[in-house]
Symmetry: C2
Subunit: 443 residues, 2 copies
């Protein structure tokens, strides 16, 4: 006899949890649709070659690889030596995110797609990461992307979409942080430190966690270029106002082509969002995530006054599909962290109280004929009313306890043979009130 358990980092979802999770997914999905995104799904399993090399060497190690089977396994075992790696025993793996499979999808179905292609995808992904609070090995991603246009209208659309979804989820107290890789590149270029671009951006991205002083200290310790420390120190000492930051940037980047282009993009997005009444957008030049793939706008959304970290992330990428042989396709996308949103909404009790999906009526049959209960059930269901019949002849107390535990609002007691005008007793399980009525009154 086995004591049952599940792999660490995975979860069972019971009805109560799943109903709340689906509430989140349904809202995200309906807004994605409203904004004109179309659904796709890709397989859970991808060829290993599709996934490796796309997430850095750390990412490769977090892949759940599928073991070779049958003769292929035997052959791999026979050919193995002490230097063999897990790659020698696997040709397939579970997807690590939805972005690389989407890039693969675009290239594979290129001839069937019309661009700009707006797709959404809500599916689980798997990472063999060290499990901890809020970090799971199997979790859902909710992505929306627009591929095949470099129009900044798309960025404004995504900002509108984020706002509409988070407001609908009662998470209106959030900030959408925005940056642009080209601005970062321009700034680093103006202080002649472009060979340290990755290092510099990795350091300044930590400012939220370690503060301005430590960031400047780290820059001093790692970047042999005083003008670089000074530039970022000046930037981080600015007043936290959009106008002041934009005007500072326009001065600093005045003669830098790439930086100026980034600044124009940022300006365009901020101006138009403002005109649409979106006032939760905030420029954050230290935002430097995803610079391996983002080439323009970078987004990250946080809840105000909360330490949870980012609940939505995204950005523009010009080279997404290049690795699969298709260049010149610019795209921009966002990804909702549904797991974190779920945890937050639980923490702040933001789920509607009437999320139950129990049937409205439970029939307790006190007549002699089991067919009476079944007839009543059929009568209600034919009126498209959700109902169940307690299946056993247990004591009344046990039946009521059951109805209570699965949160049935009303009990229908029947004592006679079924007819469509029959008398029933109706018990309101919340108030305890019991009334005599005609079955045709139920709705």
């Amino acid at each position: 006899m086995q004591k049952p358990s599940i792999p660490k980092g995975t979860r069972d979802f019971s009805p109560d949890q799943l109903i709340r999770r689906n509430y989140i997914f349904d809202i995200i999905k309906s807004k994605f649709k409203k904004f004109g995104f179309l659904p796709i799904e890709t397989p859970s399993i991808e060829n290993l070659s599709t996934l490796t090399g796309k997430y850095g060497s750390e990412g490769d190690q977090l892949l759940f690889k599928i073991l070779l089977r049958g003769e292929k396994f035997k052959k791999a075992l026979k050919n193995s030596n002490e230097n063999s790696t897990d790659h020698d025993f696997s040709l397939e793996a579970l997807r690590y995110d939805l972005t690389v499979p989407f890039a693969r999808y675009i290239v594979q179905h290129l001839n069937d797609l019309t661009f700009p292609f707006k797709r959404y995808q809500i599916q689980p992904v798997w990472r063999a990461d060290r499990p901890q609070k809020g970090r799971y090995r199997e979790f859902y991603q909710c992505d929306a992307d627009i591929v095949g246009t470099n129009s900044l209208i798309c960025e404004i659309e995504l900002v509108s979409l984020i706002t509409e979804i988070l407001n609908e989820l009662n998470l209106s107290d959030h900030t959408i942080m925005i940056n642009n890789r080209k601005i970062l590149y321009g700034l680093v270029e103006t202080c002649n430190s472009i060979e340290y671009f990755s290092k510099i951006t990795a350091i300044i991205d930590k400012i939220d966690k370690i503060g301005q002083n430590k960031v400047i200290e780290e820059l001093k310790n790692n970047i042999p270029n005083q003008s670089c420390w000074e530039l970022f120190n000046e930037l981080f000492s600015l007043d936290n106002s959009t106008q002041i930051i934009l005007s500072w940037l326009s001065k600093k980047l005045a003669s830098n082509h790439e930086g100026l282009k980034g600044l124009q993009e940022l300006n365009y997005i901020v101006d138009n969002a403002e005109e649409l009444g979106i006032n939760n957008l905030k420029i954050n030049i230290s935002l430097a995530r995803g610079l391996d793939y983002y080439t323009g706008s970078i987004f990250e959304v946080i809840l105000n006054n909360h330490s949870m970290g980012s609940i939505v992330g995204g950005g523009r990428y010009d080279n997404l599909t290049e690795v699969f042989g298709q260049s010149n396709l610019s795209g921009v996308g966002i990804s909702f962290g549904a797991e974190r949103i779920f945890d937050l909404m639980n923490e702040f009790s933001l789920f509607p109280s009437n999320l139950g999906i129990s049937p409205k009526y439970m029939i307790i049959d006190q007549s002699d004929q089991p067919s009476n209960g079944l007839q009543v059930l059929k009568y209600l269901r034919d009126k498209d009313i959700s109902a169940i019949l307690y299946p056993d002849r247990h004591k009344l107390k046990k039946q009521l306890k059951y109805a209570n535990s699965v949160k049935i609002p009303y009990i229908v007691f029947i004592k006679d043979s079924f007819n469509s005008k029959m008398n029933i007793e109706l018990k309101n399980m919340e108030s305890g009130l019991q009334v005599n009525t005609d079955i045709s009154n139920l709705n």
Copy 2:
């Protein structure tokens, strides 16, 4: 540069297909809910020990096993020899079906559950089977089960549920075949062949494919018991009428305890279903699937006059959770073959023609200011109307071609600055008709 592809037996689902798939899932889900089933989800990955030994040795070979990682992989490699099996390199696997994970779930969450527990579960499963038409390596199962009662009301409920779902899917021309393991057992017992039970049932189950003569021939070749051949030959020669079969069975099983019990169960279900107006139930004593786990009723649903095979299967099991240490929990469940249903509905064009989920309006901005289009978009969306804005300043022809290809019903042309009474041109993409109107008339 890689030429992208996906593992064999897996599929990408493009919007057109996914919308149709979701139509099926949504109907199944809404009926499951209406009948009082609550949703659960379990992890894709289960401990290998949870899955192995549950599906026979053939099933074990079809498991997608997850390769050990890091130090554990190295250790397994070091300890390996030519007799090592894939089990030495894996501790986890993708689930093979939803039934065993459900049994594991029940036992693991026993203290949180109220019985009878009615759950539904719609998730993918994985089998490393030889892919062929209609058989995939990743596919969805749609299961509904009632656990914790042996009331035959549950069987009648499931028959009603199957009927309601298939009718809603326009697959009303189907037959629900029903049998009972106890009847099979009783019949085999009356001819003193119980040691050949598995062999006999496996042979008679093939009657649909190979016909009565071949079945009797196989019985003669494999079962050294003349009364057995004669009994089944007599059964299969009966007129195909419920009454005749039931009366024959009641005579044959008159003094067989187990068989009589099965017959009573079958009678009860057939009688009550008939009273509820369900007339697509058909007794089929040769139905002998799943006898490793089914202990009572056995169901299988086929489309009339079609060679597709079973589209729904199910049955009652008394020992489902025993292997995980919990006995005395009787359950009964059904599983919809969503993939086959999808193929059938495509074949017979049974999907509604208006399943598209494209936005109703696409805005083509012919004004000078990009913000005008965004304002119109916001105006429509604030009225909860689904709309998109073509993001680029491409030629009109290209924009209209795009709208056509993603099946947008109406184009909104704007030429002026936004105001809530502004004049627009509205083009019906199907009729080609174009009218002048006020933006407030859009809905």
